[in-house]
Subunit: 109 residues, 2 copies
Amino acid sequence: MERYTHPSIDAVETCAVFHALSDPFRLDIVRTLARRGPLNCAALSCDRPRSTMSHHFRVLREAGLVRTATQGTEHINTLRQDELERRFPGLVALILGTTVPPELTETAS
Amino acid sequence: MERYTHPSIDAVETCAVFHALSDPFRLDIVRTLARRGPLNCAALSCDRPRSTMSHHFRVLREAGLVRTATQGTEHINTLRQDELERRFPGLVALILGTTVPPELTETAS
């Protein structure tokens, strides 16, 4: 079973977070996790090659954005939202706010 | 005299902004402009080669972060702060808040 390592959120460099979010696919993963909660890799892969997915999730983990846990044969990814909010206040709101998802605009007052 | 082009802030991709901020030196330039106001390239270069500076400022301009204007022989760089705040609410605060400058912690209540 694969084991994943995750940095302390306080050890994460700001530039590493911005680098992780500079790729459209990784940014989309983070947005999806923020809106839908924990998901396995299959739900997020969009049929991309396994090696590509491994790379993107490693970058996201190393930047402190995502925590991956194994549950049986599944790899469940969770946004480290509360920790991120403490370390980088406003970051998650910024990520979600820059392109407002359709379901939010439909219910906006 | 060199002329610079700047994208409409609404045409800027979120990923491009994050990419521009993923480099420690570029992030430092943005923080410095946010705290000190418009500055020429010499004040920001820290003795880096001209070609390196040209590259970094081009990335910052293309990401909509910085506007460069020529005044005589000087190239004055300004953070597009109001436009950024409208397009990416919270971004500048996030950039400044991730490492609080000493002068801000001294005056914080």
